[in-house]
C-alpha cells in the first residue's frame, strides 16, 4: 500500500486516541495550496505538451454527469434515509461534487503503477466541483429561489480551490514543460511528501467526526460506503465512453465516487442554512474519504481496466 495512506491512518489513530497532535490551520492552508497548484500545473503542462482536440464533447459529457449525480443521490437520502429535504439536498450536493484530496491520492496511485492519465483530468476536476452544488441548492429550495445566485456563484467560482486549480492549469499551459522546470523541485518533487502531511491532517479531521458518526447512526455509514462504488462505476463508464485512457477512466471514476468537503460545505452552509452541516461533512470526511483511499481507488482502477478490456 502507498505509504501516504499510512499517514492518514496515523492521523486517524492519533485523533481517536485523543493525542494533542494538531496541525496549525496555516500549515493546512499551505499544504492544500501546494496540492491544488501542483495538480493544476501538472495538468497544464500536459495540455501544453499534447494539445487537445475535440475536448468540447467530453466537457459536455462530464458536466452532464455532474448535473445528473445529485438527482440520483437526493431520492436515496430523502426517501431511503428519511433525511429532511434540506439535509438530503446537502448530502446530494456534497457527493455529487468532488474531493481534491481523493483525486491527489488517485494520481499518486497511478504514478506508482506507471499508469499515465489524460491531461484534461484536472480540468474535469474543476468542472465537476460546481454543478452538483447548484443542483443541491435548487433541490433544497424546491426551485423557489430566495438564494442570491449571483453572489453564490461568484463565491463558488472564485473560491480558493477553483482559483488555484485553474490558475495552476493556465500557468502550466502558458509556461509549458520547460518554463515549469524551475518550479518542479517545490511543486512536483515534494508532491508525495506534501500529500502525506495533508493526509495526516485529514486523518485527524476524520477522527474528530467519529463522535457525530456514532450519534447519527447507521444510515450515514451505509450511505458513505455503498454510494461511492456505483457512482464511480458511472464515472468510469462515462470516461470509457468519451475515450479516456485507463488512467483517465480511473480518475474520472475517482471524481464521481468522491465527495466534496471544502467547496460544498461552505456554499451549502450559506445557501441552505437549515441543513445540519455535520451530517454531510461526517459522511464525506469520516466515511467516504477513508473508504475511497483505502478500498475505493483500487476498485475503480479494476473497473476501469475491465472496461478497457484488461484484467485489472
Amino acid at each position: 500500500m502507498d505509504p501516504v495512506i499510512w499517514f492518514f491512518a496515523l492521523g486517524l489513530i492519533a485523533g481517536l486516541a485523543k493525542s494533542d497532535l494538531r496541525m496549525p490551520p496555516a500549515v493546512y492552508d499551505l499544504l492544500s495550496m501546494l496540492l491544488l497548484l501542483t495538480i493544476g500545473l501538472k495538468g497544464g503542462v500536459e495540455l501544453a505538451k499534447a494539445p487537445f482536440g475535440g475536448l468540447a464533447p467530453q466537457i459536455v459529457a462530464v458536466l452532464a454527469m455532474g448535473f445528473l449525480l445529485p438527482f440520483l443521490l437526493f431520492p436515496i437520502a430523502h426517501w431511503v434515509g428519511r433525511l429532511a429535504r434540506a439535509d438530503a439536498a446537502s448530502l446530494a450536493a456534497h457527493y455529487g461534487s468532488v474531493s481534491v484530496a481523493t483525486f491527489a491520492v488517485g494520481v499518486a496511485f497511478l504514478v506508482d503503477r506507471n499508469v499515465s492519465y489524460d491531461s484534461q483530468l484536472p480540468l474535469f476536476l474543476v468542472l465537476l466541483e460546481v454543478p452538483a452544488i447548484v443542483v443541491g441548492i435548487l433541490l433544497a429550495r424546491r426551485g423557489r429561489s430566495n438564494v442570491s445566485w449571483g453572489k453564490l456563484l461568484h463565491e463558488i467560482f472564485f473560491g480558493k480551490s477553483i482559483v488555484l486549480l485553474v490558475g495552476g492549469l493556465l500557468i502550466g499551459w502558458l509556461a509549458g514543460p520547460d518554463g515549469v522546470r524551475s518550479l518542479e523541485p517545490l511543486f512536483f518533487d515534494l508532491f508525495k511528501g506534501v500529500l502525506a502531511l495533508f493526509l495526516l491532517e485529514m486523518g485527524l479531521i476524520a477522527a474528530s467526526q467519529a463522535r457525530t458518526l456514532r450519534q447519527s447512526g447507521l444510515f450515514l455509514v451505509l450511505f458513505g460506503i455503498l454510494v461511492p462504488v456505483p457512482m464511480a462505476t458511472l464515472g468510469a463508464v462515462v470516461g470509457w465512453a468519451i475515450g479516456l485512457s485507463v488512467g483517465g477512466t480511473t480518475l474520472l471514476a475517482v471524481l464521481a465516487g468522491s465527495a466534496s468537503y471544502i467547496a460544498a460545505p461552505a456554499a451549502i452552509r450559506i445557501a441552505v442554512p437549515e441543513a445540519n452541516p455535520t451530517l454531510s461533512l461526517t459522511a464525506s470526511l469520516g466515511v467516504t474519504f477513508p473508504f475511497n483511499i483505502f478500498a475505493g481507488i483500487p476498485i475503480y482502477f479494476t473497473i476501469a481496466s475491465m472496461l478497457h478490456g484488461g484484467g485489472g
Binding site: M23, Y28, S208, P265, A266, R269
Partner: protein, 108 residues
C-alpha cells in the same frame, strides 16, 4: 483640568459582542455597515455551545468574535438583524454591555 476631564471617558455606548461561525464573516460585516455601525473588530475564537464544539483546526469550523461599539439605536438594530437572520440556523450567541468611550463622535 480640561485635559483631565477629557481623559475620563464619560460618554456611554453599547458594546455588542457576537460569537458565531467563521463562514458568516463577510455577510455580517456587510450587514453591520448597512445597519449603521461606524466600525467593528473581529478576532478568531473557538468554543462550545448548544451546537457542540467548534474549533479552528479545520478550515471553516472555527468561530469568530465580533465586537461593535455603537449607540443604543444601532445596537438594537444589530441584535434584531442577527436574531431574525442567523439565530435559528447558525451557532451564535450575542451579548451586550455598557462602555464609556473616549471620543463619542467616533461611534454611530
Amino acid at each position: 483640568m480640561a485635559v483631565e476631564v477629557n481623559d475620563v471617558p464619560d460618554d456611554t455606548r453599547k458594546l455588542v459582542t457576537i460569537i458565531t461561525e467563521t463562514v458568516l464573516e463577510l455577510d455580517i460585516c456587510e450587514a453591520l455597515e448597512e445597519l449603521g455601525a461606524a466600525g467593528y473588530t473581529i478576532s478568531n475564537a473557538r468554543g462550545k455551545g448548544s451546537r457542540g464544539v467548534r474549533d479552528a483546526g479545520w478550515a471553516s469550523s472555527g468561530n469568530i468574535r465580533i465586537e461593535i461599539v455603537c449607540s443604543d439605536e444601532v445596537a438594537k438594530r444589530i441584535t434584531g438583524h442577527m436574531r431574525s437572520h442567523y439565530y435559528d440556523d447558525y451557532a451564535m450567541i450575542i451579548f451586550e454591555s455598557d462602555v464609556r468611550v473616549l471620543r463619542p463622535d467616533k461611534f454611530a
